[in-house]
């Protein structure tokens, strides 16, 4: 097959209309259709796994005619990193669609909801599997509109307010990305990430500096790094649970991926050897530490069930940013990407189970809950699994990747003394994250039973959560598959 990657994008594109029309008749069928398409996409993508693992370049590339005048061809590619991210994204979309069957049951306009979910999946997968910056930006912004409408249309409290905040913040970030991309095109005349990397080597360092800063600022907004995180707590907590899972799992992950791929992978090599290069990495580390502490500390005192998780996302993006600052060490990079994958599954699961609790109880304050473990065993198990994973407890997923990041950090300390303090602070932050994870579980599931009438969630929600529980445990015990894929990519 020659057009596998094109098909992975075309399939959901064509499906949008079908999903919409099916949804008009039966919302359940539409949800299952979305899940099936995600499954089909996973199948399509996995056919490229052998190529990525075995070929000499560890890449699989397809290229089509698009806008030659602007140096853009419709280039789709996968390497280990993008393949891992794309697969995990599709798994989350699958889980979100299944979860929505019961979760969204009473809501109106579900045809639109599932069509938007399908549309979102195009943008999300597209971001990870293209190497053309123009196409990358297309997909980057394609995430925005469906997310806006899903949060606004089916969220809680004042949903359009949160959605508005989300849209303006991330769009403002995106225009800075656009500025950076335009400058790259102007300097190199090419928008392919890998060719631009070579061409930028000979460019003026001053200009490259600005390009790097502009791009990284833009991506950092999506990644919700402190101090541009303000959109995240609102958007994550007001969105419907499946959307929160996607937002926190992969959309902010896409920001981190973009920093790795575009800022660090394409632009950074041109000024790696200069002083500014070092300062830039140190800057990333500092912002990483700040985000980790800020997020963890607020998560420790927050009482709204979803806001706790939202702030923990900020904290975890802090870890990821810290990991990125160790560029280009192999262990650290592998650990960072693996953390993105693990965090996506764990946080997705945590948001889904929080949604399950909210749906069954109708309240959001964790102080009013308690003792739910007996009444909602499946939800309790999945919450505990994911919360412990977020807290960095072995044998759950996030432990192994955090461990790898720290291994990378210790190696870096050998060369650069600066990292001593940030690494020590990061270790402290992991303790905090365990603290809020345990607090979360204790308040909701342990202690005396306060709400007698709570019942276990329906079938589809259980299925979605159990699938992700399996992933969290398997990825914790046997991370080899993704590690193999990720380590095929070499940044040096």
């Amino acid at each position: 097959m020659q057009n596998i990657l094109l098909l992975t994008l075309l399939l959901p594109t064509l499906a949008v209309l079908v999903v919409y029309l099916t949804g008009k008749k039966s919302a359940k069928t539409a949800a299952i259709l979305v899940a099936l398409i995600a499954l089909a996409d996973i199948a399509l993508l996995s056919t490229t796994v052998p190529v990525v693992l075995e070929s000499a370049e560890h890449k699989y590339v397809e290229s089509y005619y698009w806008i030659p005048v602007l140096g853009s061809s419709f280039t789709l590619f996968v390497d280990g990193i993008s393949l891992s991210m794309a697969i995990i994204t599709l798994i989350l979309i699958l889980a979100a669609a299944l979860f929505s069957v019961n979760y969204m049951q009473e809501k109106k306009g579900l045809a639109e909801y599932y069509a938007l979910l399908m549309l979102l999946s195009i943008g999300l997968v597209g971001v990870f599997i293209t190497s053309n910056l123009m196409l990358f930006y297309f997909c980057w912004e394609l995430m925005l509109v469906p997310t806006y409408f899903i949060i606004g249309g089916w969220g809680y409290k004042e949903p359009y307010r949160a959605a508005f905040k989300f849209f303006i913040f991330t769009h403002a970030g995106a225009v800075f990305v656009l500025l950076g991309i335009g400058a790259i095109f102007m300097v190199t005349g090419d928008l392919d990430m890998f060719q631009a990397q070579t061409a930028l080597m000979t460019a003026q360092p001053d200009l490259v500096k600005w390009i790097l800063l502009s791009l990284t600022t833009g991506f950092a907004v999506k990644m919700a790094v402190v101090p541009v995180h303000m959109w995240l707590p609102d958007a994550h907590s007001e969105a419907p649970a499946p959307m929160s899972a996607l937002l926190s799992g992969v959309i902010i992950g896409a920001g981190a991926y973009a920093i790795l791929r575009v800022s660090l992978g394409t632009v950074f090599p041109a000024i790696m050897a200069t002083d500014f290069g070092n300062q830039f990495l140190h800057g990333l580390a500092v912002f990483g530490v700040i985000s980790a502490f800020f997020g963890s500390l607020i998560a420790l005192v927050e009482n709204d069930i979803k806001r706790v998780i939202a702030y923990s996302s900020i904290a975890h993006m802090g870890y990821v940013l810290f990991g990125l600052s160790l560029f280009p060490f192999q262990e650290a990079m592998a650990g960072t990407v693996l953390h993105l994958v693990n965090h996506a599954v764990s946080k997705g699961l945590l948001f889904l189970s929080a949604g399950a609790v909210m749906k069954q109880l109708g309240i959001r304050d964790i102080r009013e809950m308690g003792g739910l473990a007996g009444q909602m065993p499946v939800t309790a198990t999945s919450s505990t699994t994911s919360a412990l994973s977020i807290g960095g407890v072995p044998p759950f997923a996030c432990f192994i990747s955090e461990f790898l990041i720290f291994v990378g950090a210790f190696q870096t300390i050998n060369n650069d003394n600066f990292y001593l303090l940030p690494t020590a602070l990061m270790l402290l932050a992991t303790v905090l994250s365990l603290a809020y994870a345990l607090r979360y579980i204790r308040h909701i599931f342990l202690g005396p039973t306060k709400l007698k009438e709570a019942k276990e969630v329906p079938l589809f929600m259980k299925c979605a959560m159990i699938t992700l529980v399996a992933f969290v445990i398997v990825l914790g015990i046997w991370p080899t598959f993704f590690l193999h894929l990720i380590t095929t990519v070499n940044f040096v």
Partner: protein
């Protein structure tokens, strides 16, 4: 070989048909049945004929690659050539003629349905529209400053009839404002042209240019430039000369606003581009980039800030038009091939998007929705119209995969290329403001609860031209190569500017 007839045929056909339209449409109106079908049939004939003449010209032009890319065609023979009007054909004028014809046809289709809805539909409205299309194509083909002036003023003055169509006090007031402004503008331009003629002894584009390049004392030229620039800036609604635009577009019926924003606006940008880039080329002739950059920044900022404070939705979109002028000026200011490409793409996309928004607003206004509060929950009551408006809005905001994104991308990149990064940053920041107030409108349309829940029947006929334009912005956004290939010859010809 391209003859005078080939060039003038598109203009002649529009003007001729415009004269024929009045008796023909009157005759059709007298019949009892099938009047709409017959009217559409008649205008189909008009536009197909015009399209054939334009296509004939394009095919002939690209058919024989002539060594001289700028084809000068004089109406009179050698001896009187100096007094004669001149046509000039190059890639850019052909591109403009093509898009004027196509966009004109779609907005015309909307006007047919829209004007028919009013109490006393008038065939003169169609006639004026056709004449304007003819004149504006004439503007694109002009080869000397005087011909350009005549055709352009004719279309600008003609458009006042379209604004006046409703004959309400408000539209009278707005039209008067517009007329006064363009009369002042044309006085400025004539004064400037007379100085240019005094310096160079000719008005032909290339002759003027050759004379100006070797000109040593440029003080007088600078004065002439200020007058000409001010004149054309008034007509393009560059801040601080923008006051007429919101009034005029708000008071005019929606079909007129759509037509004006799609054709007259594009025409005014084209005139600016032609005069500034092709004749007063910096830096060989005159260095005006910094001055224009300041005005461009001002236009983007003021246009967007005015829109931010707007409660009336139609006025809001009219202010977006002003902001669009600013974005176009960014591209003109950059004086790079990329900028020209961005400009030509922006003409088309900006025109289509504003036309589309005005058309959708036309439907909503007919239902009595005027202010943001009226728009509460309209998304659920009129799903199709709202969807079209929504896509138009996202295209304005530069959200891919809609066409507005590529246009903005080209414009900003051109500014960076021309070492005007500060302008690009202002452009980017103002487009965030733009996104904010446009999103506020969407917020009203989809988030607020409407006063009543009943669905409103949407006029299907009016939705046809709207969705043609919606399809255009989606297709041109995903695959802009269609238009960029048409623009590429223009870029190839730029090095030929002496």
């Amino acid at each position: 070989m391209i003859e005078v007839l080939d060039v003038s045929l598109p203009i002649i056909s529009f003007v001729l048909f415009s004269l024929l339209t009045i008796p023909v449409v009157k005759a059709i109106r007298k019949r009892k049945s099938k009047t709409t079908v017959l009217t559409i049939g008649w205008f189909l004939i008009v536009f197909i004929t015009a399209a054939v003449t334009v296509a004939n010209l394009a095919v002939k032009y690209y058919g024989e690659p002539s060594p001289q890319p700028f084809l000068n065609i004089t109406l009179a023979s050698e001896m009187f050539a100096i007094f004669s009007s001149t046509f000039m054909i190059d890639a850019i004028s052909i591109y403009m003629a093509i898009i004027f014809t196509i966009v004109g046809a779609v907005t015309f289709l909307y006007s047919i349905f829209y004007i028919n809805l009013s109490e006393r539909p008038s065939e003169r409205y169609y006639s004026v529209m056709l004449i304007i299309i003819g004149c504006i194509i004439g503007t694109a083909f002009s080869g000397d400053l005087l011909t350009l002036f005549i055709f352009w003023e004719a279309s600008a003055a003609g458009s006042s009839f379209l604004m006046l169509y409703r004959k309400t006090p408000r539209s009278l007031h707005a039209t008067l404002k517009y007329l006064v402004m363009i009369i002042i503008a044309s006085a400025f331009i004539v004064y400037g042209l007379s100085i240019v003629y005094g310096i160079t002894g000719t008005l032909n584009f290339w002759a003027v240019k050759q004379a100006l390049i070797v000109l040593e004392d440029k003080h007088l030229l600078a004065i002439a430039f200020i007058f000409i620039a001010a004149g054309y800036a008034i007509e393009a609604a560059v801040v601080p000369f923008h006051m007429w635009l919101p009034d005029a577009y708000t008071a005019a019926p929606a079909s007129s606003s759509a037509f004006l924003s799609a054709l007259i606006d594009q025409g005014s940008y084209y005139v600016l581009l032609r005069v500034f880039i092709y004749i007063l080329t910096p830096p060989t002739v005159l260095e005006w980039t910094v001055m224009l950059a300041v005005f461009s920044a001002l236009t983007m900022i003021v246009g967007n800030l005015l829109a931010l404070a707007q409660e009336n939705v139609k006025r809001l979109i009219a202010n977006v038009c002003i902001a669009d002028v600013g974005y176009n000026l960014v591209a003109i200011t950059s004086v790079t091939p990329l900028g020209i490409m961005g400009n030509l793409y922006f003409f088309l996309i900006g025109g289509i998007t504003t036309a589309l928004s005005f058309m959708a607003l036309g439907i909503l206004n007919r239902m009595g929705f005027e202010t943001l509060d009226d728009f509460s929950g309209v998304g659920r009551r009129m799903p199709f119209t709202s969807l079209a408006l929504l896509l138009g809005i996202f295209s304005f905001a530069g959200v891919p995969p809609l066409a507005g994104f590529i246009a903005k991308y080209l414009v900003f990149t051109a500014a960076i290329e021309a070492n005007l990064s500060w302008l690009a940053v202002i452009g980017v920041l103002t487009s965030i403001i733009q996104a904010a107030y446009l999103l506020r409108l969407i917020n009203y349309m989809y988030a607020k609860t409407p006063q009543e829940e009943t669905k409103i029947k949407e006029p299907k006929k009016l939705l046809v031209p709207i969705f043609i334009l919606v399809a255009a912005i989606i297709i041109l956004g995903v695959y802009p190569t269609i238009v960029l290939n048409l623009i590429e010859p223009v870029i190839q010809q730029l090095p030929f500017i002496p």
